[in-house]
Structures are given as C-alpha cells and as structure tokens.
Symmetry: C2
Subunit: 650 residues, 2 copies
Amino acid sequence: MRDPWPITKEETEPNVFERVAEYRPPFSWRTRLFGRPLSSADAPHQTIGKTVGLAVFASDNLSSTAYATDEILFVLATVGIAAFVYALPISLAIVMLLTILTLSYQQTIHAYPGGGGAYIVARDNLGELPAQTAGAALLTDYILTVSVSVASGVAQLTSAYPFLFPHRVVLSVGFILFIMLINLRGVRESGVTFAIPTYFFVAILFLTVGTGFYRYMTGSLGVVVNPPPLRAPVMASVTLFLILHAFSNGTTAVTGVEAISNGITAFKEPKSRNAGITLIWMAAILGTLFLSITFLAVKIGALPSEEETVVSQLARTAFQGQGLLYLATIAGTTLILIMAANTAFADFPRLSALQAGDGFLPRQLTYRGSRLVYSRGIVALALIASLLIVLFQASVTALIPLYAIGVFLSFTLSQVGMARRWWKVGRLVPGQEVQERGSTLRYDPRWALKMGINGFGSFCTAIVMLVFASTKFRDGAWIVVLLVPAMVVVFYAIHHHYQDLAAHLSLEDFGSPQRMSRHRVIMPISGVHRGTVAALRYARSLSDDITAVYVSMDPAEAERVRSKWEWWGEGVRLMVLHSPYRLFLEPLVGYIEEVAAQRQPNETITVVVPQFVPRRRWHNLVHSQAAIWLRMALLFKRGIVITDVPYQLE
Amino acid sequence: MRDPWPITKEETEPNVFERVAEYRPPFSWRTRLFGRPLSSADAPHQTIGKTVGLAVFASDNLSSTAYATDEILFVLATVGIAAFVYALPISLAIVMLLTILTLSYQQTIHAYPGGGGAYIVARDNLGELPAQTAGAALLTDYILTVSVSVASGVAQLTSAYPFLFPHRVVLSVGFILFIMLINLRGVRESGVTFAIPTYFFVAILFLTVGTGFYRYMTGSLGVVVNPPPLRAPVMASVTLFLILHAFSNGTTAVTGVEAISNGITAFKEPKSRNAGITLIWMAAILGTLFLSITFLAVKIGALPSEEETVVSQLARTAFQGQGLLYLATIAGTTLILIMAANTAFADFPRLSALQAGDGFLPRQLTYRGSRLVYSRGIVALALIASLLIVLFQASVTALIPLYAIGVFLSFTLSQVGMARRWWKVGRLVPGQEVQERGSTLRYDPRWALKMGINGFGSFCTAIVMLVFASTKFRDGAWIVVLLVPAMVVVFYAIHHHYQDLAAHLSLEDFGSPQRMSRHRVIMPISGVHRGTVAALRYARSLSDDITAVYVSMDPAEAERVRSKWEWWGEGVRLMVLHSPYRLFLEPLVGYIEEVAAQRQPNETITVVVPQFVPRRRWHNLVHSQAAIWLRMALLFKRGIVITDVPYQLE
C-alpha cells in the first residue's frame, strides 16, 4: 500500500518515505520580536569575526577595569594611604596571572578547536566528577555575572538619578529581559548590538588614561580635587594576609577571561586562530587599562570610596573637570557593566547544551530555537538571574560575595586538566599522534614547560579561590560553597535517570514481540448521548469484548441511563457502579484495576473515554474534567491504554 | 459473555449489571480534618432542629444589632443631638419593616417547603430574568457578608489589641478558612460549633438591656460617663431625606432575615413548621434587642463614634463600669460578628447548587462532597471572600458600601414574586388547587390582604434599596450596580452553553450509527526503542493500515532511525519528515491534518502516541512533553482519536 500524497524526496526503501516538511512559522509577533526563522542549513553563516567576537565575549572581562583598582585600594586603605605603594606591584602580579591564564587558554583554544571551556578540558582530562564540578561552578558564575553586572549598572544609574532607586528591581529585570530578547534573536545580531558600547567604553577609557599619561609627562596632571573621604585605618601594619586579600580582591579583573574558550564555535573559520587572536587582544586591552588606571590612580592620590569610583576620580582629574568627556566616561562605564551580562548570555546556553548533550542536564537544553540559538538556556538564564535580582533586591553588596568563587574553581580545574594533558603529551614519542575524545594529542618537546605554566597557574587560582571563599564566607560565599556540590548531585541524578532509561528502552537482547491475543475494552460513560454513541462505535471497531461503566450517585439517574442504554447500547454490556459516597474516580479506577489484575499475558486493556471538546475554551470551566483526572489516575497502571474519542460540537 | 467478577446486586437485565462500589475513602488527614465520609443514605439524618437552626441561620441577622443603632445615630448626628428624638420612631419603622418581611417570609416558607429563597420565588412567579437577578444579588451579598462580618470582627479585635493591626488581613483570611473548614465538616457539626457563641451573645445582650431597663425603672441608670467626642453638626435642620437616609442606614438590622427561607431543607421534619417558628424567634429576638438598645442609648445619651460602639457605651453604663460583664459583652459581640459569616456559608452553597441545577452556574456546584455538603460552593465562597479581604485590605469602611444593596434587591424581587402569587391565588375558585413548579396554589379568601402586605413590603424594600444605592453610589455601591448585571450575563452565557450542548448531544432524531468502514493509524515515534515496539504492537491490533512518522531535525539521527526501523518495524511504512526549522509539533500536526483531510466518511484516524511514563514524577521535568503538546494540538480536530500507549519502566 502506498501513500497517496506527494513525496518530495525519492523513495529510499520500499516502506520508508522521506519528505521535507515545508512548514515554516508564519510571520507573526514572534517573527517581529525574534527575526525570521533560520533553517539548520544557515548555521555556518551565523558566525562572527574577531571584531564582533571581542564585543560579544569581552564585555564581561573588560568591564572589571571599572572596579578592580577600587577593590585593591579598599583593602590597602585598612592600613592607610602609605600602603598604596603596594597597589602597583599587586596589579602587576594580577597582570602576570592574566598572562598565565591567557597562555593557558590560548593553548586550550588550539587544543580544543570545537570549543573547550573548563568543562570540556576537565571532562576529557580529569573525568566526570571534576567536569560536572566545573560545569556547576561555571553555570553558577554565569548566572551571578548577569545579576551582579546588571545590578551594578543599575546602581550607577540610580546614584546619578536617585528618583529611580525605588524602581531598581524592575529596572534590573527589565534590562535582563531586554538582553534576553536580543540574544534570542541570535548571536550575530546581539554581537552587532553590543559592539558599539564595548568599543565606545574601550575608546573612552584609553582616551582617559592617554590624557592622564600626557599630563603626567608634562607635569600638569596634579591630584584629585576634593577626593571622597577616606575611612580611618583599622590595622597597624601591612601583613602577608592583607597583601593576599588585596590580590584576591583585585583578581576580579581577570573574571571572564575564559569566555572566549567556551565560545570558539561562534567564530568564523579558522575558528581557533580567530578566537586565539581575540583572546590576546582582550588580555592586552585589559592589562594595559588595568595597569594604567592603577598607576595613575596612585599618582593623583585617588581614594577608594562607596561614593565615587576611582575611574570617576581619574576622569575628572585627567579631563580637568566634569565636562562632556567626563560624562562620556561615566556613561560608557554604566553601559559596559550592563553589557557584561551579555557574555554570560553567550556562554551559559552553550555550556548547558554541552552538559545536556552529555546527559547531565535536561535534554531540552540542546534544542536550538527558530534563530539557531539555544533558546531554552537563554530563557532559563534570564529567569534565574531575575529571580536572584528579586531575592537580593538588586543589591550589589549582597550579591558580590557569591561571585568569582565559581570562576576560580573552574580556572583551577581547567588548568589542572591542561597540566594533566601535557603530562600525557610527555609520555608520547616524537611525531606520535593520539586521537582523544575532543582533541588530538601531539608530541611537543616543550611539554614540561607548558605543564609547569598550567600547574603554576592552577596553584595561583586555587589560592585565590581559597582566600576568596574564606574571607567572604560569612557574607554569602557559603551559599556557593553549598550550591555547587548540590548542583553536582542533581546533575548525577539526571544522568542516572537517562542511563537507566536508555538501558530499559534498549532493544538489545529484546526478543521480537508477540502479537496481542486478546483486547478488552472498558468505556466509562457519564450518560447516553451522541458522544457516548460515537465512542461506542469506535470501541466496537477495537474489540467485541466491551464493558460500558456508569458510576451512579443517584439511583433515579441510573435508571434513566439503563433504559436509554437498552435502546442505544447495541447489546454491549453495561456495568452500573453505585457510589454511595458520591465518589466518581475511585470506584471507576478500582473497577478498572480489578479487571487489569485478571488480565492474561498478551491481553491489553483499552479504556475508551468519550471526551467532550467544547466549542470555546471557557466552556471547559463549566464541565468537570473527569476524563483528564481519569487519564492521570491510569497513567501509572501497567498494561492499560487510554484512548480519548473526542466528540466535538458542530 | 458474562463478567467474571462478583456481582453484589442481582442482575437486572441480560446485559446490565449493577453493584455497589464498596470504595470508601481510607482514613487519612482528610478524614481527620473533615470527619468520616457520609453515605448519601445518611442525608436525612444530617438535619438540624430549631435550636441549632437559630444558631446557624440567625447569627448574620442578630449580629446587626451590634451596629444598627450606631448607623441611625450617625446620620441624625449630622443635625445634632436634638435630632436623636427621631431614633426611636425610625427604629420602630424598621421593626415594622422587619415584621412585614417576617410575615412575607413566613408565607414563603409554608408555600415553598422545599426551600424558597428569593431565587425560587422569583423563578416560579416572575420568570428567569428576575430569578437570575435575585440569584446574582444574593450571591454577591453572601460573599460580602463573609468579608464584611469577618473584617468587622477582626476590627473589634485589633482595636482592643492594636499590635494585631498589621496582621489584620492574615487574621481575616485565617478566620474565613477556619469557618470554611467547619462548614466542610457538615451543617450539623457547624451548627453545634456555632450555637454556643450565638446563644452567648443573645444572653449577654439580654442581660445588658435587662439591667439597663431595671436601672431605668429604679432611676439609677444615669448617663454615659466620658462619652466619645461628637462631631459638630453639619446640617441646619431635619429633612425628609435625612430621615430616609437614617432609616435606610438602620435597615442594615434586617439583613439576613431571608437566610432561613433559603435553608428550609436543612431543618428536621416538619421542615416548614420548624423553619417558620425559628424565623419568628429570630425576628422577635432581633426586634426586642434592637428597640431596647435604641431606646436605652437615647436615654443614657450615648453618642455614635468610630472609637466606641453604642453597645459598649450601653454596657459600661448598665453594668456601671468596665467589669467582667462589660468584657463579656464586647467578647460576645466580636464573636457573633465573625460567626455571622457562617450564615453565608450555610446559604451560598445551597443557592449556587440550585442555580447550577437550573443550568445557570457550573454543574460541578451541585456535587456534594464526602460530608454531604456542597463542598465546591463552600470553597468558592471562602476563596472569593478572602480575595475581597486582600483587595480591600480588610477595611470595613471600604467594604460596607458594597453591602446590603443585594439583600434589598432580593427582598424586593421575592416580595413582588409573592404578590404575584397571591394574585394568581385570587384567580382560583374556592377549594381549587393548582400544582405549580415548586409549590401548590390553594385558594385563600385573604389573598388580597396578603398581596397587599407583600406589595407594600416590596415597595418599602425597593425604596430602601434606591436610597442605599444613591447615597452610597460613589463610595463603592457602583461596583455592585455593575456587578449584578454582569453576573446575570455570565449566568445566561453558561445557560446558553448547556442548552446548546444538550441539543447537540441529544439522541432524538439521531439515526443508528454505521459501523466504521476503515481504520487508519498514524504513530509518531521519537526513535526506535522498547516503547516504540510496544506501541507498534498495539497499533497492529487496531488496523493493518499503519504509518509511523518520524520528525527529523538531524539527518544522521534519521538515518539511524531508518535502519533500526528496517529491523524492528515489521514492514510497517515509515514517513520521515525532515524539519529544517527544527520544529517538531507543526510538521507532525500538518501531516496528520493532511491525512485527515483525505479521510472518507466512516473512516477514523487514530493517532497512537507511545507515552513514556517515568518512575518518578520529577523525571518528567527532564523530558520534553511532546506527547502532551501533540494531544492538545489534535484535540480540536474532527475525526481524530488519540491513543496513549503508556510505556512504564519496571
């Protein structure tokens, strides 16, 4: 027997037909909001070059220059202004850490051209548990990146316009939903949208520090006019712990450095090369800006304060007043902080799709929406980040201690993974190549050096993480310390379920099924009407063994049903269940279970439910949805098939 | 073929079996909360005598003595203390109105032994529209009775204990839920629970006014010590409008008088006689207390005030101080106000079940729960009243203007209906009896007098209603003026739907259905696994014309499915739908619709959906619920039957 409708592709087997479903979503508000749907074939075109790539993946990283120097000075100020001499050495140490991280991720990008964040590196080199830990740490951190950066952007806005302060939660959630919308349109369009503010920020900051250096050289720089008040020192002398604390506080500057390695696949070919160059650009810009700001800040006598940021003090000193260039610097900083959330929107969906693909997160996250983005991951990120904003009332102070631990945990795992990889490379003989899961191991004579770099890097990031976790534990870091293992447990529960399911659904060692020998039909009825008759007609086409069941709460009504059935029942047996306690579902399910308990092997019981479909949706409200409840009650019973015979009104 | 399991009742027809479902809900938290389930056969035992009946149906009515005098004095005080001489005549007029209403409802109770509130009287004598209007007015008022009386009870509590004020909304909702729970246990138990506070209130008030009269006779009553401050008069002289306003304000005393006539069926046999006597008791108690309070209040120089009620001033004057008896009076008043809500809980579910039985409200409201009460009506009332409490923040001042219009509208309709009935009685010849829908018309020589009483009563209540609506229109009465017609429109929409449905489901003039000639099966699959094989086995038992459909988003995956199908597909045709836009539902539904469009008369299309049933509920979260979405998409298509073949893991 052949199919009667057109087949657009040639027949491949006598009984297998293929065709391309021409269905495309019609133009609607969705199209207007998200852009025209993209076919899977368009995927390769949805990639970005280095210029846009820098804007998409660097905004998180670069935005930290807006506050990293402040964070160092805050710690040093607990001893006094004299301790500020340590600011530049500490910044240099952080730039060294940045260099190590850049080298490490440069190597990762080339070793894992298919995209290799901490998750993949840990998975391929350290095993499942470290990989899932890295995944949990990164997902937590991406969510916090969104919440923290949007909240701090809004905080900049509300300190300039205090009347907006009561609306900060709504504003923050609004910004998150806006960024979500742009990301649902797809990576290329979001890249273009975000390129302008990112480059504007970079340009205006270079102008600020450039002007600052020029004035410094010509001796016209001077010091900050009316610096904000400094709190009295609380500590007597500089200790090692203080230096470490200042260092770990300043390392907030390097958060986001891993973003590019997660997003390699978004780049144009050659992906690794483009991504690698973008990473170097990013690190160079970040290092230059960060060192320059710290250097100039100390020179002009800038003071850390909740009231005015160091960048603001530097800008008004360099530009000699609060003119247009000063305002542009503040505006650019505000914008980049909000844009920083976009990096998380680029990476969170990719990472969650990866984990879902490995079976540690719900499979739905691997689904690409009409614009070829992992739309469910994007929506999930926006919702969770908004929830955090609401819970913490958009307070940056409350959110900050939760932040950065995840990043440094993933840095550490990633670098330990890379070190392990170099060790494996060192075991190879020259010229030998070994194919591994996600990458190719190739002999490299400098494997020991590279292993050293990664090992040292992982040591540094582990120290930073521990200092972070211990100094900020009470302020909220404990939440992350508990959350990450909890997430790992959930990941494993999901994974276990998928594996269990696959084992039970597998057709291996599964004998050919026998045909059913007997087919029994039970048809619950609520009365005798056209819907019942239609369902009966259907039931008769299934089997000759049919029992109609009527649950009676009123003997008079039962009598009416009985006499009507005599005429319309076509001789089919009717069981009247009197329900003295006026229960409907329980006696019916009880009866069906009784029948099911007596079923023979290869006998199937089909419950045929006449389902009335009203003409309008609201009509459902005035009908007891007994059919739906029955379905839910029977869904977990073995060997019972539920058939809904819809009866629609004309 | 005979059923293999035991039949507890004798066979009534060769193919009709009956049995009593032994299923009774097991002992559980439900039993603990609501009491043991009651069989329908217990219904006659769940009735109440006159003593409990008074407590159940009179608390609303009697509680108004706690504020009715205040309401009159408030209006008179706008002219000054001199106008208080009108208080007693106005109260007498209200008691006359009460007498007319009592006579009218006495007649109603005997004419409608099956329960005859305004709804039934209007329905049987005036027609559908007046009946539905009365129904809407009463339902609105019952809801407001709950909200207003609980809110005012809580207001008494919070004025005594101001620290509870911030929790007034939670407290009010808590009280409503508590009363709901007691009512869900059934009318008899709620009656017993409520009898104590009602009789306590009546006893303590009689003691108060008795003491007052004794002191008045012996000349030792005196005047109120430290009366609350009186606002300065704002009007120059007493006008007719002022008297009418004071009168209509005072008529709040008669609200709730209709409660017994709605609840006749809850009484023990002889129902009409018991209900009638209870009504007279109630009216006598109300009239005596109300007149006594007004008389004594004027004598002791009590002043209306937001700070202290007239009852409180009277009690401390009569008991000469704020001793134990004074406190008992205040406590009794607070309790009865909260209990007043119980009357609405007794009547609202009965009325809504009546209207639902007539097809003007969702049929589910006619269902009696395990304790033989209309549990859905009880829950609905509690939810709507709680919603009002939350919306109006438990403010009595905001709720009061909405109240009482509905009562007087229903009074008017009920009495017009009774007048019409007497007119019909007057058309009969002596000795003649005519059976009408809900009652028997019997010739009565005094029909003209009775018609006059009812006519005059309806005139009075109509005036009160109009004065009410106009003087309080802006304060919130407009909501009710809009709401009642809107509710009537909804009632008719529901009625129209039920009638339309009955016409379409009717088997009159419905030819015997033909047997199906052809049966086509479409089976969407998500892959080839044990679940698919089980569903295929089932599909093969239905028909030989089967098409499996696979929606492919990934050509490599499609190839795997195709080759697996060659082995497991048993030669059944497979249609692969390539979906370049990664849509699942749309191509599938499109294909099914295409097939359905070509279906012949008497051909049925069954969509067999392999439905995976996970072992734990949370597992559903990690599966895309495609089967459910498919069901919802197909439910409205003509001639398509949906069969779920569940596949459970061991």
